[in-house]
């Protein structure tokens, strides 16, 4: 990356462009093909989630959380209900806890599959995308069987879940895991160890750990930089402290720690860990009534709470303030993709324009969650 002095050109990427993963506009200052500055412009998908929340009851907020991160709706529900239950001091039945963990981890796999597949597409590999969507479809089928919806579930409620598991769920879910586990090797053969893919991602867009923490980057992006931080392990919520699983970290196998490949690789490894968690959860799944602790009317005591959970994209936090009425006084969502995108200007500086697309893809952003 030599320094070339020439005329600056301002280039506009998006808001309608397939590689921006939604309606994101990037204003890029380039010197030849080398990027000197990037400013992301967001807000094209702003649907006033927080303002809406102040006008509906607590249970009516849940469908809105679905629509924030529409790739991982279960995890968004999960974060909200965990925060609400802590505020209201509800202890949900064991069965509900297990069902929630199974659903959240299945959704994590589905979300990572989409992220990895689309990332391949970003750097020019079309086939892995089709393979991964084929397998993601099976997870969506399981969700459809459970709650009737394929994308926006509204499945987890404060104090319980909307439907008990369908008959034969254990067999179907184990069947899927047995089918899916060997597929990860297939993806690795197809994409991970592909020379062109490695050339495009290894050593590209290095995010050093201290910069990552300072920019509030979280989840797989942070672990790709080698920082061992996972809310499921470090601040366990629900029943995550009962399961055995590893935290995959970026090791700079093909380049530097914290490059785009590491962020990609952490996601690939995390799917294996999610499989482990689901297997343990299904093995221990207790019987019980899933509607037992759903409150008739939700009126949390006066007070405020901030709680974060681990969504597939990172630390998903909810800040909820209650004034004792059935309508929230304030709901704030701290979105992991929002902070990840804010670091783009720092990471992508000095790289070629085509690398910017590779770096942006490796951050795995969802615009619905950034704009809320």
């Amino acid at each position: 990356m030599g320094v070339v002095q020439g005329d600056q050109m301002v280039l506009n990427i998006g808001p309608q462009h397939p590689s921006t993963h939604g309606v994101l506009r990037l204003k890029v200052w380039t010197d030849g093909e080398i990027v000197s500055e990037i400013k992301p412009y967001i807000g094209y998908l702003h649907r006033c989630f927080e303002k809406h929340s102040e006008n509906v009851t607590y249970e009516q907020v849940i469908p809105f959380t679905d629509r924030c991160d529409y790739i991982a709706s279960m995890n968004n529900n999960f974060g909200y209900v965990v925060t609400m239950e802590e505020l209201m001091e509800i202890k949900v039945p064991e069965r509900v806890e297990y069902i929630r963990v199974i659903m959240a981890e299945l959704n994590r796999i589905a979300s990572h599959l989409l992220a990895l597949g689309v990332y391949g597409l970003d750097v020019g590999a079309f086939t892995p995308f089709l393979y991964m969507f084929r397998d993601r479809e099976r997870i969506l089928d399981i969700f459809e069987l459970t709650c009737g919806a394929r994308l926006l579930y509204n499945y987890m409620w404060v104090g319980g879940v909307s439907h008990d598991l369908p008959k034969d769920f254990e067999r179907i879910c184990i069947g899927f895991l047995d089918y899916f586990e060997p597929k990860i090797k297939e993806y690795n053969d197809l994409l991970t160890h592909n020379k062109i893919f490695l050339e495009r991602t290894a050593d590209v867009g290095v995010l050093p750990p201290d910069v990552a923490i300072n920019f509030g980057v979280s989840g797989p992006n942070l672990r790709g930089s080698g920082v061992n931080w996972d809310v499921r392990k470090d601040e366990p919520y629900s029943i995550y402290d009962r399961f055995e699983f590893e935290i995959p970290l970026g090791e700079g196998e093909f380049g530097t720690v914290g490059d785009s490949f590491d962020r990609y690789w952490v996601r690939m490894c995390e799917m294996k860990e999610s499989i482990k968690i689901i297997r343990q959860a299904i093995k221990d799944l207790p019987d019980g009534d899933v509607f037992q602790t759903i409150p008739k009317k939700i009126r949390p005591p006066k007070g405020s709470i901030y709680r974060r959970t681990e969504s597939p994209r990172g630390d998903l936090g909810y800040y909820i303030i209650s004034d004792g009425s059935p309508i929230p006084y304030r709901v704030k969502m701290r979105s992991p993709a929002f902070t990840a995108l804010s670091s783009l200007g720092e990471i992508a500086q000095g790289w070629m324009l085509s690398d910017v697309i590779a770096i942006l893809g490796s951050l795995d952003i969802v615009l619905g969650e950034i704009d809320r």
């Binding site: 974060r308 800040y319 304030r330």
Partner: protein, 165 residues
Amino acid sequence: MTPTEIKETLDREFPGSVIDNEELAESQIELKPDQWLEIATYLKNDPGLNFDQLECVTGIDTGEDGPLQSRYNFHSMEHRHKIEVVISLDRNNPKVASIEQVWRVGDWFERETYDMFGIIYEGHRDLRRILCPEDWEGWPLRKDYEAQETYHGIVVPKIKEEEWE
């Protein structure tokens, strides 16, 4: 450190900056706005505190004539302790020092709070609206907010109170 110990430390280092507020929870500290940048730098750089993560910045409107609040959630990955800082600001002139250069994640968080509440973060290098269009009028998340009638000739739909109930 427990929140009470952190509170005592801050009271010792910056006398008079901590405000006693009975309404707040144990993990929350209310601070005066005037020394905020120095306190924030201390929170980050002091080896005993070492708050390296700024988790969240939230704006709150406490009601009709009440103050606006800017709340910050901090967490230390090394010491595993956390604290929430509350700063109350005058509703007609909400100004507080920006901590964007201490924690870079504060950049977008503060822009968002500015966008929604009109809190001005002094010293922020790029304080613009982030989610709303740049020429939008008013501060949407304030409790007394009323949406403008038209935006570039487009009628902004009004929500009637009855429809919600």
